[in-house]
């Protein structure tokens, strides 16, 4: 079943064109009842509807939770909200690669009768149950880097800074990051950490570095640039990035993560030098 591994866009298109209507496929799911509980595999046979994706298959399984060998089981737990690949919730490992499941078309991954698809929870975050993981650490990172514009308040004070179209487009692209954590799952430097008190000293991740670039490139946001760079020059900061560039390959929003890492790396160096020259503050 070479076709089932649909990693290149061309292959996916070919699969889609070759997909057989009315077929049944097998979904293999790595399940776990909760933190500290053992994992197990369950297999389900699902009849493929037109336009089916991984979520619509999980919905079918929820309504009829019976495994391929006819055993009754519980509905699989998963995280999903928008079903439009815009909220970032439904991230999981599909055939071993991290991506959103709502935009994962069955036609592209399992075009033939009897093909199978494997679903596993992300491995860099603690499992809550089945395919649902706890990604609080990715959100905590945003707090640490002060990922906001320090406005004076909500009273009417006129428009924001005028901005030409080109920098706007760059900021827009950076600002589409949905904290899905694909980039963290793929990063060799980012490892699972159950102990919350160790998050601050562990690698902060590509998504946060890219958000620093976003906020540091805004006229008002810049005001907090030194604070942000302090964090990134500290423990678990940008120096932990091994430049493996896995992150950028899996980002569903095509955010230029390595470009951000490069730009922020240079800014961080300058920042460290400036601090060194001005002495400890």
């Amino acid at each position: 079943m070479a076709l089932a591994h649909a990693h290149s866009p061309t292959q996916r298109r070919l699969n889609r064109q070759a997909a057989k209507p009315g077929r049944t496929i097998r979904i293999r799911i790595k399940r776990c009842d909760g933190p500290g509980k053992p994992s197990r595999w369950e297999h389900f046979d699902v009849k493929v509807e037109r336009g089916a994706n991984v979520i619509s298959c999980l919905q079918q399984i929820a309504a009829h939770p019976v495994t391929a060998d006819g055993k009754a089981t519980t509905p699989v737990v998963w995280d999903a909200i928008c079903l439009e690949e815009i909220c970032g919730a439904c991230t999981m490992l599909i055939n071993g690669r991290v991506r959103q499941s709502c935009s994962c078309l069955i036609d592209e991954y399992a075009p033939n009768h009897g093909d199978s698809i494997t679903l596993e929870p992300m491995s860099k975050f603690p499992v809550v149950r089945d395919l649902w993981v706890d990604r609080s650490r990715a959100f905590e990172a945003l707090k640490r880097i002060k990922a906001w514009i320090p406005i004076d308040g909500t009273y009417h004070l006129g428009p924001g800074p005028r901005e030409p179209a080109r920098p706007q487009l760059t900021r827009y692209t950076l600002s589409t990051c949905m904290t899905c954590a694909c980039c963290l799952e793929a990063c060799p430097q980012y490892t699972i950490e159950h102990d919350e008190s160790k998050w601050d000293a562990s690698f902060i991740g590509a998504h946060a570095i890219s958000q620093v670039r976003l906020f540091n490139s805004h006229q008002t946001g810049k005001q907090l640039a030194p604070d942000r760079l302090d964090i990134l020059t500290g423990l678990g900061g940008i120096a932990s990035c091994g430049n493996a560039q896995n992150c950028v390959k899996v980002c569903p929003k095509d955010i230029p993560l390595t470009e951000s890492i490069g730009a922020i790396g240079r800014a961080a160096t300058l920042h460290a030098l400036a601090k060194w020259f001005s002495g400890p503050s």
């Binding site: 928008c82 935009s103 945003l142 707090k143 002060k146 004070l157 589409t176 904290t179």
Partner: protein, 654 residues
């Protein structure tokens, strides 16, 4: 001194705007959401947000005209004063979002770019790529995170609101459940803001996110809150039918020149490329020369429905029509609509820059919602104005307080004291149908404008009234206990192995969606709605015997869904009953047996109330505030509008 605090339920645009405003006033906020707030349904909004702006102003547009358009668009069912205040505030809201760093699209000179949207002939829609909702939500999420790290906001993410706690006819807290540990707890607050969004899931597949069940609204309704205009459900004309949901194709596709057509020959099986212009039927442009493809949503939905379902003119005999952008420059499309083009390609597989999209209407937005009041502002003309024309004299200034009195505690408060409703869960602003790109505005406006009202209500708490913090714990314990028993009863029903469709919650939910979509969306009729109510009673009976397939005491999603399903069934009844009793057609509500608007009898707000004893819903009416503009026929310049209206023929066989 007891600590005063506010609970905000929901972290979409409305909930976050409220949180920011309230926290800014140094009032602690506990923010509850079923999902991390950054993932709230508001991220889905694509097209944009409306506001008068300098360019449009110099062409004769004004805040007042935005107000007038919204009222006209809503077919006069919206209370007018809040809409005036909202339109006046709109430019300030855009400025604020701009200061928060929202990357609004820019012109060559670096000003905010604008696009055309349905219901207006002026460019007044601000946008950020094709993911405006996401960008706005992120800006508010970021500001909320800032307040959170300053200790003013406490987030309870993955917590589900189960009921308001009402003591002495005043809301003093909520019961909520941790969706992971399943712990149920009561929380105290001096005021509670509901900002829980819409109820699309009642209709099965809609454009909404999977959490938009309307469960939270229904729980308030069951606790005594009025639910207004339930029958007013907007169907979006252009959605991409899918296996799990209907994905929206934004109105901006039409705003950027998208043309809707079907082959003139029924069942024409040729490829679109082989069909010459003369054999394409651009039916909207033909019927509505003035607005063309940009007629408002209800009209467009009905026309599409008519073409496909009645005339069987859909492409290849199926319920789809073309939405065609292939005549536009592909680079321009990528720049202006990149995100939505991608959605289509991602989920369907064709590139809409070169192949016309296939679309069909889907349930999109609920204009109805929890009833909310307000205090009328300074502007009170001796008699309502007539139609406002571009460039005409604007009868009122744009100062804050012309429409609603700023800071008045009653603004956007439900009929239960201390319980507020903001955003899509409220019935305000949009009347019988909503103009595109006005929802994001109303959500943020609610939070910012009426957030101050919440603070004032709490601070000006009547003397002698006990702060929630000092109330007897028994009130709270009893409420939590009630939910605990309900929870236990559902768990006890768990019955792995012996699930029949009859008692399977997902099947009941599916049947509910199909029934509601068929009976209570694009076209309705008395007999069909009566049949629908019978079906709902039957579904409720099935639900009374519902069986879970998961007895887990940990992260039990089926339980959460099944509990919400019970609440959806109750809200569905209000929607169908409201539709049955409204014997006229207005905005999104189209009755084949009463095809005309009937102002003498139905220029009224439907008020649904729930009686927990008999478990039944009652409908009554309240007058609409029409002090500012006089109702006029809403035709959008349709040719032969009259003729069509008079036939009174059922449009749909069923």
């Amino acid at each position: 001194m007891p600590q005063q605090r506010v609970i905000v339920v929901g972290g979409g645009l409305a909930g976050l705007a409220a949180t920011i405003r309230i926290a800014e006033a140094d009032m602690p906020v506990d923010l509850f959401s079923m999902v991390p707030v950054k993932r709230s349904h508001s991220v889905c909004a694509q097209g944009g947000i409306n506001a008068c702006n300098e360019v449009a102003r110099q062409q004769g547009y004004s805040e007042y005209q935005h107000f007038d358009e919204t009222i006209y668009g809503g077919d006069y069912l919206a209370d007018q004063a809040p809409v005036l205040e909202m339109a006046n505030w709109a430019p300030r809201i855009i400025d604020l979002l701009d200061r928060m760093g929202v990357p609004f699209n820019r012109t060559a000179e670096g000003f905010r770019d604008l696009r055309l949207f349905g219901g207006s002939l002026f460019r007044r829609t601000h946008f950020s790529g094709a993911t405006t909702g996401q960008q706005l939500l992120y800006a508010l999420d970021e500001q909320t995170r800032r307040h959170e790290s300053e200790g003013k906001v406490n987030k309870y993410e993955f917590w589900e609101f189960l009921r308001p706690i009402i003591h002495d006819q005043r809301c003093v807290g909520i019961v909520a459940q941790d969706m992971r540990t399943m712990q149920i707890r009561a929380f105290r607050a001096d005021a509670v803001v509901m900002a829980t969004g819409g109820c699309g899931l009642i209709f099965g597949k809609s454009t909404n996110s999977v959490i938009c069940t309307g469960g939270a609204a229904s729980r308030c309704f069951q606790a005594g809150a009025w639910y207004a205009n339930p029958e007013m459900i907007q169907v979006h004309p252009t959605a991409i039918p899918g296996a799990d949901k209907c994905r929206l194709m934004s109105e901006s596709a039409r705003g950027e020149g998208g043309r809707i057509w079907v082959p003139r020959k029924q069942g024409d099986s040729r490829d679109f490329k082989d069909i010459p212009a003369s054999e394409r039927w651009y039916f909207l442009e033909e019927k509505f020369p003035k607005y063309g493809n940009l007629v408002p949503r209800d009209i467009a939905s009905r026309e599409l429905f008519d073409i496909c379902v009645n005339q069987r003119m859909g492409i290849g005999g199926e319920n789809v029509v073309y939405l065609d952008l292939t005549h536009r420059d592909p680079d321009y499309l990528t720049r202006k609509l990149g995100g939505i083009m991608e959605i289509y390609e991602k989920f369907v597989g064709d590139d809409p820059r070169f192949t016309p999209m296939k679309i069909f209407p889907a349930v999109h937005y609920s204009m109805g919602g929890l009833w909310t009041g307000y205090v009328h502002g300074a502007y009170d003309p001796p008699q309502p104005h007539g139609e406002h024309r571009a460039g005409g004299v604007v009868p009122v200034s744009t100062d804050s307080g012309q429409g609603m009195q700023p800071g008045a505690p009653e603004n956007m408060m439900t009929n239960i004291r201390g319980l507020y409703a903001f955003g899509e869960v409220s019935f305000a602003f949009h009347g019988a149908t909503r103009l595109g790109a006005n929802a994001l505005l109303s959500c943020i406006f609610d939070g910012l404008f009426s957030g101050a009202s919440v603070v004032n209500y709490v601070r000006e708490c009547e003397p002698g009234e006990t702060p929630a913090d000092s109330l007897d714990p028994a009130t709270f314990d009893a409420a939590a206990q009630h939910e605990q028993s309900k929870h236990q009863a559902l768990l006890d029903s768990a019955d792995a192995g012996d699930m029949t469709d009859e008692t399977n919650p997902y099947r009941i939910g599916h049947d509910l969606g199909v029934e509601m979509t068929e009976a209570s969306t694009v076209v309705k009729s008395g007999p069909r709605l009566e049949q629908c109510l019978k079906k709902l009673a039957h579904l409720r009976d099935r639900y009374s015997r519902v069986r879970l397939s998961d007895a887990a005491m940990w992260t039990n999603q089926s339980l959460s869904y099944t509990r919400a399903l019970g609440d959806m069934l109750i809200l569905a009844e209000a929607i169908a009953l409201g539709g049955l009793k409204r014997k006229e057609s207005r905005g999104s509500h189209f009755r084949t047996d009463f095809p005309d608007r009937d102002d003498p009898n139905f220029l009224k707000t439907t008020i649904a109330t729930y009686d927990p004893q008999s478990r039944s819903t009652d409908i009554s009416y309240r007058d609409v505030d029409t002090r500012l503009v006089r109702p006029r026929p809403r035709t959008y310049g349709k040719i032969e509008a009259e003729q069509q209206h008079k036939t009174g023929q059922p449009v749909v066989a069923k």
